[in-house]
């Protein structure tokens, strides 16, 4: 049927279906593509005109003119393009294919494209069909364009004018086509030129519903692309009027529009709130709903869901009458939904129900209603239907946010645990993880452990990680914790990371009571015939340290212990052998009086491994061998390991970092704040050794540890940086000492200065603290928030892309979305409060460098719980510079003041626009810009060695587009871009990199542009990207008195200097 008249297309599809294999299919597709391509090519379209421009027969002047034309063509804003908008169609009408043929080919292209083949031509033809006069062709043009292209496609701009004519024209069917296309792929430019017309259509009384509903969704798209196109003052009333609409199609679309509007700015749309409640009442009571708008007997479930979604964007409902009516409706939905046989009816009614639950949670209803909700969810998690069960579990996890109902949720624990046996266990696991606390940890963790051995392979890693975290956080006693981890290693050793066994060793070392118990336990495991290598590691370590505590028990003498451990040696890898060697040395040391037989046995092992190819093993064997002959000296060196410093579990930190679901995360956080688990407070305050565990294992390298205590006290100040930071310790004497040592750098505020100096010191010592410095947003003593993720990395990622997370900590997430056009930028900061309590005293100040004009709209002082506020930011680039703007952001959470200084990704490369130039355009330009200051050349040394391909990718990612083939030397790169600023306007920049294949660490950079500052700044910018800069603190330009502290967000290369001039401060940041 159908496809009538397009026999060619039907035949083609049949051919493809008849292809016996992929190669045949590809051959057939290639043939068809070739055919379509020739057809399109034979048309005298501007395409061909462009191809001719490469012809060698054209005189140079023409080439130059064409080149200029192309540059102009690409650079001009869409206004000019509108004028030549009709061009393709006019040209095409005179020569070439008929619309019918074109339509056929365009469909074929779409089909081939759907099959997954690259279709890199013919886009222009698809777009040009839009301007066809007849409906069938126009329809194809619109639909195929919307499928093949996305909003960033250049060809789309060509069509703006035609599309606008269709929208404002009188032809209803054309209006529909145009609105649909713009609604599906319209970009920012469409938003700017079409929004007013689309708005008129929505409210027009002469338009039929079919046009108005499309216009409403079209406006929604345009609003998403540029919120400014909807004028809030004028539109708020219109929006409220729209909600009086009787046609449910238009109402559905309008409600979607409202959701988008209120999610951005609920204040302006207060007047819509009572109307939403009215609509909900009308639907829930099934009043005045035409039959065709009921779905399996339910009055438009989609509209009900949307309306409740819109209501969730209003923080509260103040009017008591409205509130009462809403609760009545919600009550009706909660009570009136049953599980029925028909799947679709069930789904639709539950879609409404789950949305109602979300709304009830949002409205902070009375406890009674909440318990009702939990009871309902309890019912759902017991049903067999997997979807309802899944959603029941998911929503229960969300419910955990509401503190009142946690106890009620716990009543369903048994049922949730049963759900672990479902094929979809994720949700149940998440919920159990979220609801775990001291009271039920034992049950939950043991269930997870039991389930572990039968679980699907893919789930085991997550299961074991969660079990380990819960065991640590909520252990009722430590021996239980040890049991759990050992079981975990036993059942899922492959998924137990080193962190987990390090952690258990730390606990055992720090708790004397635990030591004999742990030693007995690990010995039991060692007695088993086959155990996981991680178990060998942890048992060997613990028996080496504490095995002697068991010496009075039968079968636990040094010799026996040695034998059972040594039995495992043939089965382990080289990473475990060093641990075993240490254990042997320790056993030897604890055997008093010495047992000559054991001694000889162990010595024989040492001397055997003295010639091991692995350096670590060799060194240990040699040193232990020599040491163990020294007798009494051995006692000191191989003494028991000192206690570990208290630190946050790297495991928990990792889990927090990995968490994507912020809701879940803050639930955990909340609970950690409420109750410190036993496990976290067991470590006592006695002097601790700052050496990390890894260091301990290689203790041979520190010949004497007798002066441990001195080292300790100096180390203590540093440990917070090494480990994961939980809190900032009050300045300790040792820290002051460091502060004194580095006195000259201290400018203002001792705690701050010390903090940053510590960073430098640890950085200079080549410590691992480099990473820590990048993530410490601390500059006030009471500041106790810890960022999630690496701020510097986030910044660097955002330099390359336009949306993402700029900063995150347990309380707030700051997202950023940016759009850049020429020298203008529009950034939106998304400040999201992750907590269930408001964040107060929110302050955001921009410290702009002198070359950027930045306007930040008002930032509200309070961010309501679980809400996100958006703060638009307008940026104008005045002139070329590499300086970076800084956002000084602070808020108060409880008694804590958090303050961070974040670099904003409004960097030089954002004002570049890619342009690729041909040889004919490049060389005349290159030659005309001769010598400094317009053309600068520099040999750069110490470059990160990159392959040429990698370097090209790096350049492309900064929008410096590499033009392959321009430079005859294959070792060179030539790139071009356009830079925009107010002073320079659009400025073409040309770059040439000459590399030396023999020495990738040096290269020569030549930059040319029409502006000396630009040339210089761009050269420096490129150098920065290419050179791995060692961390050299720049000399601070101190100005005592009013200096703000250095932004601790600095990347490793930055200085910790505090400067008064934001511009200079920013320069320091680079």
């Amino acid at each position: 049927m159908a496809l009538s008249g397009m026999r060619g297309l039907s035949v083609f599809i049949s051919d493809i279906r008849n292809c016996p294999n992929k190669e045949q299919e590809r051959l057939r597709v290639d043939k068809e593509l070739g055919n379509v391509r020739t057809r399109f090519k034979n048309e005298k379209l501007p395409n061909q005109f462009r191809e001719n421009s490469h012809s060698p027969f054209l005189p140079p002047l023409v080439i130059f003119l064409i080149a200029v034309w192309i540059v102009v063509f690409l650079l001009l804003s869409c206004h000019l393009l509108h004028a030549i908008d009709e061009l393709p169609y006019l040209v095409e009408k005179e020569l070439g294919l008929t619309h019918y043929e074109k339509k056929k080919y365009v469909w074929k292209m779409l089909y081939i494209y759907m099959l997954g083949y690259d279709v890199d031509f013919g886009h222009m033809e698809a777009v040009s069909l839009i301007s066809a006069p007849k409906y069938p062709e126009k329809q194809v043009g619109y639909i195929v364009t919307a499928c093949l292209l996305n909003e960033n496609h250049d060809f789309l701009r060509l069509a703006i004018n035609t599309v606008r004519n269709d929208i404002i024209g009188r032809n209803e069917t054309f209006q529909c086509l145009a609105l649909t296309m713009v609604g599906n792929i319209g970009g920012r430019e469409f938003a700017e030129s079409l929004a007013p017309d689309v708005q008129k259509l929505i409210i027009s009384s002469s338009c039929r519903p079919l046009v108005r509903k499309k216009a409403a969704l079209c406006l929604l798209r345009l609003y998403r692309k540029n919120p400014d196109v909807v004028n809030v003052d004028g539109w708020a009333d219109r929006m409220a009027q729209l909600l009086d609409e009787r046609d449910l199609g238009v109402l559905t679309s309008s409600m979607s529009l409202l959701v988008a509007l209120v999610s951005n700015n609920h204040e302006a749309y207060w007047s819509s709130l009572p109307k939403c409640v009215k609509i909900l009442e009308r639907l829930a009571r099934n009043q005045d709903v035409p039959q065709e708008y009921t779905y399996y007997g339910i009055p438009s479930p989609w509209l009900q869901v949307k309306t409740m979604r819109a209501l969730q964007y209003f923080p509260t409902i103040e009017d008591p009458n409205t509130r009462r009516s809403l609760f009545e409706v919600l009550q009706r939905i909660l009570m009136g939904t049953d599980v029925v046989k028909n799947v679709n009816k069930n789904n639709a009614s539950h879609a409404v129900l789950f949305e109602a639950l979300a709304l009830v949670m949002h409205l902070d209803a009375e406890k009674e209603m909440m318990s009702q909700c939990v009871a309902l969810l309890g019912k759902f998690i017991a049903v067999r239907e997997p979807n309802i069960r899944y959603l029941g579990l998911e929503n229960m996890t969300r419910m955990l946010m509401v503190t009142d109902v946690q106890d009620i949720i716990k009543r369903h624990q048994a049922q949730i645990i049963t759900s672990l046996k479902d094929p979809d266990i994720r949700r149940a696991l998440d919920l159990l993880y979220g609801m775990c606390d001291v009271s039920n940890a034992k049950d939950i963790v043991e269930e997870i452990l039991q389930y572990l051995s039968t679980a699907e392979f893919a789930m085991r890693e997550e299961l074991s990680l969660k079990a380990a975290i819960l065991a640590e956080k909520f252990a009722p006693d430590l021996s239980w914790y040890v049991d759990v981890i050992l079981q975990l290693i036993d059942k899922a050793g492959d998924f137990v990371s080193d962190d987990i066994w390090f952690r258990v060793v730390q606990f055992v070392t720090n708790n004397e009571d635990l030591q004999p118990y742990a030693a007995v336990k690990v010995k039991e495991y060692l007695d088993k015939p086959a155990i996981h290598e991680t178990m060998v590691k942890v048992s060997a370590y613990i028996l080496g340290e504490f095995g002697h505590l068991l010496s009075r028990r039968p079968g636990c003498g040094p010799k026996e212990l040695f034998n059972i451990i040594h039995d495992k040696l043939p089965t382990v890898s080289t990473s475990t052998i060093p641990i075993l060697l240490s254990t042997y040395a320790k056993i030897l040391m604890h055997t008093q009086p010495p047992d000559p037989e054991l001694q000889n046995q162990i010595w024989a092992i040492f001397s055997k491994y003295e010639s091991c190819i692995d350096v670590e093993i060799q060194q240990r064997a040699a040193e232990y061998f020599a040491l163990s002959r020294k007798g009494a000296a051995l006692m000191d060196i191989l003494a028991e390991m000192p206690k570990f410093p208290e630190r946050q579990s790297s495991l928990i930190k990792k889990a927090e970092d990995a968490e994507v679901d912020t809701a879940e995360q803050s639930a955990i956080k909340l609970r950690t704040q409420q109750q410190m688990s036993n496990a976290l407070v067991v470590t006592d305050q006695r002097p601790a050794n700052g050496t990390p565990l890894v260091g301990q294992l290689s203790l041979v390298k520190v010949p004497s540890m007798t002066n441990n205590t001195d080292v300790n006290s100096a180390d203590q100040g540093l440990t917070p940086e090494n480990g994961a930071l939980t809190t900032v310790d009050p300045p300790q004497p040792s820290a002051d000492l460091l502060g004194d040592l580095l006195g000259p750098l201290a400018i203002e505020g001792p705690p701050t200065a010390i903090q940053s100096q510590q960073n430098i010191v640890s950085g200079l010592e080549g410590d691992h603290a480099v990473e820590a410095t990048a993530i410490v947003p601390v500059d006030e003593p009471q500041n106790s928030v810890q960022p999630i993720g690496n701020i510097a990395e986030r910044f660097h990622a955002l330099c390359l892309k336009d949306s993402g997370v700029l900063y995150e900590d347990p309380h707030i997430q700051i997202g950023i979305k940016a759009e850049w056009r020429m020298y203008h930028g529009r950034l939106v900061l998304f400040l999201g409060n992750k907590n269930t309590t408001p964040l107060v005293s929110v302050q955001a100040i921009i410290l702009p460098p002198s070359h950027l004009k930045i306007e930040l709209s008002l930032v509200p002082e309070t961010i309501p719980p679980r809400a996100q506020v958006q703060c638009p930011l307008e940026v104008v680039n005045l002139r070329p510079s590499r300086d970076v703007a800084v956002l000084d952001f602070s808020y108060k959470f409880g008694n804590n003041v958090a303050n961070v200084k974040l670099r904003l990704p409004a960097v030089l490369n954002k004002f570049l626009q890619p342009i690729s130039v041909s040889a004919e355009e490049f060389f005349p330009q290159w030659r005309s810009l001769s010598g400094p200051p317009l053309k600068l050349q520099e040999v750069v040394r110490g470059v990160k060695p990159l392959l040429l391909m990698e370097m090209a990718n790096l350049f492309n990612s900064f929008r410096l587009i590499v033009c392959p083939g321009l430079d005859p030397n294959p070792n060179n790169l030539v790139a071009s871009t356009t830079f925009f600023s107010e002073s320079t306007q659009a400025m073409l920049c040309l770059v040439r990199i000459e590399t030396d294949p023999a020495d990738r660490t040096q290269l020569r950079v030549t930059i040319a542009s029409g502006d000396p500052t630009l040339t210089f700044e761009l050269k420096e910018f490129i150098k920065e990207q290419l050179v791995s800069i060692p961390s050299v603190p720049t000399a601070p330009r101190a100005s005592p008195g009013q200096a703000p502290p250095a932004p601790p967000v600095a990347q490793p290369t930055s200085s910790a200097a505090a400067l008064s001039d934001p511009g200079a401060l920013l320069a320091g940041l680079l």
């Binding site: 194809v140 035409p290 065709e292 789904n347 639709a348 789950f354 899944y390 990718n953």
Partner: protein, 182 residues
């Protein structure tokens, strides 16, 4: 274009963070992994599209029959349902209403069914353009525009009639020309 394809490859996982779009894209995949329809409401580059399709068919086609209809994927949720040999998939945000989307899928299938008269995969292969027309009457900008099957059917019929008339006109003109040139 240029920039997107270079950057897009590395940062494909972060598509749009703050856009509360209901549906990011629609995919129809056959049990053999053949794509029968794709519609993208968020801007994905060509490369990203291919990658998404490849990844998702791997995930969805291998899921067991007793599992729920929602797949968590790269921070999104993909709601899918199998009808005979075809999988209908729609990608939505984590916190969107999954059942609502599931019923949009069913709604679409019912409309297709009414249009083709008990639709089968072959109908959608040879009339893939109709599937696109109908989808466009159902969803715009990733949001539901019409929940009445009757209205959608009426609009599609009107479109078909327009195309038909245009064809008749064309053939009558060519008849006239043919007559005249005889």
């Amino acid at each position: 274009m240029g920039l997107e394809s270079v950057v897009g490859d590395q940062y494909c996982d972060l598509i749009i963070e703050f856009c509360n779009l209901l549906i990011h894209f629609v995919l129809l995949i056959s049990r053999q992994g053949k794509v029968r329809l794709t519609k993208w409401y968020s801007p994905y580059s060509q490369k990203e599209r291919t990658k998404v399709i490849r990844e998702l068919s791997g995930v969805i086609l291998t899921r067991g029959p007793k599992l729920c209809n929602f797949v968590e994927w790269r921070g999104y949720k993909v709601v899918y349902k199998r009808y005979a040999s075809l999988y209908f998939c729609m990608c939505t945000d984590q916190d969107d209403n999954e059942l609502e989307v599931l019923e949009i899928i069913h709604h679409y299938v019912e409309i297709l069914d009414r249009y083709f008269g008990s639709v089968c995969e072959l109908d959608l292969i040879f009339n893939f353009h109709k599937a696109y027309y109908i989808l466009d009457e159902l969803l715009i900008a990733g949001e539901l525009q019409e929940s009445s099957k009757k209205t959608v059917a009426r609009l599609i019929a009107a479109q078909d009639a327009l195309v038909e008339t245009a064809k008749e006109q064309a053939s009558s003109i060519s008849n006239i020309i043919a007559q005249a040139t005889k």
